[in-house]
Symmetry: D2
């Protein structure tokens, strides 16, 4: 299947994955999990929402928890370079007749919200309130020392079209999983804007759903300690997969589920991809090291479960990829 060519001059300039807004059913329980166990910093909170960020982030929030009736991913946010890029984005969406609106969000500047043709709820902004980063405030470090939100990974029912849409927006392919043989279809794509392995990964599956959002931590030791802490503080069942090494992206990873089942990846050790001649890496779907370099299988839940997006019906994928069962 066609690997998209990188678009160096996209219609507007998305800088990177920025923030995730989650609907949660017990705000206090979720806050406790993300602030005390994971170790994100609470920057603001009221009765309806909690705003958190990692220690490296200047921006006000990279995770928003919202009290809701039903657990869901409310939206995922990307930062664009300038206010002018927001205007260009409006023009782009109008050209495609994609419904959109400029909305007001606490602590953010002008924000453009839309749902993409595949059901993913997106918001774009150029400016967010800044706070002094806490990178050197080691006295405030907690949990696994999460430093910054890095990427989103979604299940898309129309995986190739979704990849093509985001390629058109300038997302660049770094790695992908593909069926073997002629006409082999792409079943997963890792795409970036900011110069590492990904800001957005798109996986074939029932969608639109959020598979996970990911925070970067400095070392594997932070991840091992998180396992120990979760096992000794009532979160044993929330450890879903890992720790281990992905072949894809070289990440040392841990997947955990929050109190509502939203999946969070804690990872470290991917690599830089900023060169203009960077070439994507292909993985055969038959290569088990793609999923886990060290061989341990992932549990079934990891392949099947994800967070719905608010108000977006989930569709079956257009095809079922020919993946080895051990995957």
């Amino acid at each position: 299947m066609p690997v998209p060519t990188h678009v160096f001059d996209p219609p507007f300039n998305i800088l990177r994955a920025s923030h995730c807004v989650l609907d949660v059913t017990d705000l206090a329980a979720s806050r406790k999990f993300y602030a005390d166990t994971i170790g994100l910093h609470v920057e603001d909170a009221d009765a309806d929402a909690v705003y958190l960020r990692g220690s490296e982030e200047h921006q006000h929030h990279s995770l928003v928890l919202r009290q809701a009736e039903t657990a869901a991913c409310n939206r995922i946010g990307f930062k664009v370079a300038t206010e002018r890029d927001l205007d260009r984005a409006v023009t782009f969406l109008e050209g495609l007749r994609i419904a959109h609106e400029i909305v007001t969000r606490p602590f953010q500047g002008r924000t453009l919200q839309f749902t993409d043709p595949f059901g993913f709820r997106i918001e774009l902004y150029a400016e967010m309130e800044k706070r002094p980063h806490l990178l050197r405030r080691y006295d405030l470090y907690k949990g696994c020392h999460p430093q910054r939100l890095d990427h989103f990974n979604v299940f898309a029912a129309e995986v190739q079209d979704t990849i093509d849409f985001y390629a058109r927006l300038g997302f660049r392919l770094t790695e992908y999983g593909e069926e073997d043989g002629e006409g082999g279809r792409i079943a997963a794509a890792w795409m970036h804007r900011k110069g590492n392995v990904h800001d957005f990964a798109i996986t074939n599956g029932s969608g639109p759903r959020l598979h996970h959002f990911a925070y970067w931590v400095p070392t594997a030791m932070n991840i091992l300690h998180l396992c120990d802490v979760m096992a000794s503080s009532g979160y044993l069942a929330n450890i879903e997969r890992g720790p281990g090494r992905h072949g894809v992206s070289n990440a040392f990873f841990l997947y955990v589920r929050d109190p509502d089942g939203h999946r969070l990846e804690i990872y470290t050790s991917d690599y830089n991809t900023g060169d203009h001649d960077h070439a994507p890496l292909r993985w055969s779907l038959k290569d088990p090291r793609r999923q886990t370099l060290w061989g341990a299988p992932a549990p079934r839940s990891w392949f099947e479960q994800g967070s719905i997006f608010v108000d977006q019906p989930v569709r079956e994928p257009l095809f079922v990829a020919d993946v080895t069962i051990a995957d």
Copy 2:
């Protein structure tokens, strides 16, 4: 079932687990695995045997690989305090009418060899050739930086009797797994002489067989790197279990299989047990954190496979413990 009382004045003074002698079917392949990948130091070698040690060890060898027709554990070795303790051991074995002999082993002083009543082939010695340790020879470090042999773990068909026999020799219980309820039987015992969690662990199962021998490494990072190296050098299938944290002993562990299937544990982070009033820790066989603090299950092979001892027929265990299946 009866937890053995610690015998402070045993019939002779065993200091610690000392060395493991393995029969291997391809000496060159085994040497390559232990020296180049695991990182043990080759101290001597000839056409029939290779002698290896960890970086902290003053003793000439803690692992001996012997070319043989059939893969097996040839014997496990313990160091006693003095030559006089060897004499006392002879007297003790004579008292029990256990066959034994004083043998000559390369690089070792006077060595007492016997097979215990449960089929485990043991050798005792007080003196081995010394070599300057390599702890500060960081320029020679390789692999996962194995520092010292720490313990043996065996499958015993008569688990309670085996525990009682070694308790009589002064091995002290630190942790044990026991069936719940009245009359619950001990299914596994961790016993030490040197002051940490164990020199000898005895597990209920088809025996006599060696479940594994273990080397201590300084940090979990050494273990993660070993996983990466094995996955990228043709040893992916030799990674059997882990990395993870045991509840028992608090060890961060990895289990790997050598080219003949002998099982080696690489671990770090247990604790000190030298106090005279140290009390054993009981684990219910129903508690899954005993096996893996973080919840990931062990593969079936880990529960079922082990190395036979040379010339020792394997018997079914006297009982099958009531263990949860997820174990």
Copy 3:
């Protein structure tokens, strides 16, 4: 100078270094330092004293902070094997006409207190209240994850006599610094009871004074994080030396000063010394790698400053060792 021979059957059986009792001038400030920044667990506290321990320790306390007018080391404690060893210790002290008394200490059993001939205030006990250890309570870990008190290091004015006295009590030499040439004097000795490099180190200098007491932590990463935390929480000036690697003992170390200037070492990675034929390692005083394997010099304060013992006048050392100035 004479290297003491190990006494395998000492007059009574000391198991290990056990606890340190410090007089501090601001109990709240000291508690904050040790509990919040270093990360020891507060087990009990009242208006006059705070009792703390490491995560691995079953014993009620390994550090006692006492509110006092003047900062000093009140006493250092060793654990003996049994009550009978306490009786033997009394007999031993009577034989040497060393004043002593059986005293009552909170949370401890019968306690024998004395001042040794060199001015070091010592207490011995066989039983202390036990508490479940916190090794697997990772949810309670703080600071640098201190796991257990390991050893004391003192300045002795009569260094050889002090070494000989403790050798007579069964402390075994593992490493020592000695002047070169015939008649070279021992200037420092590392001596153990529990089977690693030391429980008690004795250094030539104005004494009696406590140079430092030491807690063991699992990895160097814990020590680096402590540096970061201290630098960002107002304790920058309390970082005295390190992090670095000692040649002696192979320890990765950090020396910090508490609010009263008492010196605490945080370290990891020494080695086992339990063999009966373990031979002491000699260091020339001219070898700079003894102090710091990587070459960075220690500050003058580290060589000169220490905590007085309550009511014990400080004497000049009997000799000044011929040490290179860069030391």
Copy 4:
């Protein structure tokens, strides 16, 4: 002094620091140091030069060692986005009447060489031979696991003009050291193209000279191990400064000198700076945590010594900054 404004549309697009070409007086000794001890991968070598790279790098080389009579920095290289950017660079240099030439370099495409107005010898290229990266070839890892060349740091005699020149080329200020008070001068600037703290740092001092080039490694543990290895393999005197934490950039660092005295930094843990609204961080020259967060002073050599550039006379700096002496 004026902090330069970021130029978003520079005359040509430099992607990042790419490679360093060093003249060395003993090619075999330098190769041994960089390949065996540091752990770079030798990609090609002949009698006159050795080409090395880090494990993450797709490009053929990031370090070139050239046999020469005199030790010097021959040139530093930056990668531009496209061949068209090379043409634009030619136009830019012509506009400033800066001498330049298109040269042929082994393994590189068309290469543009020039000496900037301050004496720094630079080369630019868009294409270099690619090799499969070795990131997942953990079996080939050695030394401290250097992953990629990250940045250069130079002494400039005309520091403000040099900063302004590179700002004009699109290098963006992330952190800087400045004298306090009105008219305080900038004494050091950290500037980037690729989205982390720096590709090029410019420090006030006798110049033009190369202060150091830097490789990124995954964790602090890799750096501590390098210290151990260097101390035990004859390179003790080559450890110049560290390990420690910089306030500037948050890097955990080690500075070592190669056999010719060229300075190499091994570091980890800086942060991302790709946002368009990223604001530079100012450090007072009086703040000691700027240099070393943990307080340990740097040796005099670190402030004074550097590598000359071939054929470039060294000039005294235009001013001597008002820096605290402990710096």
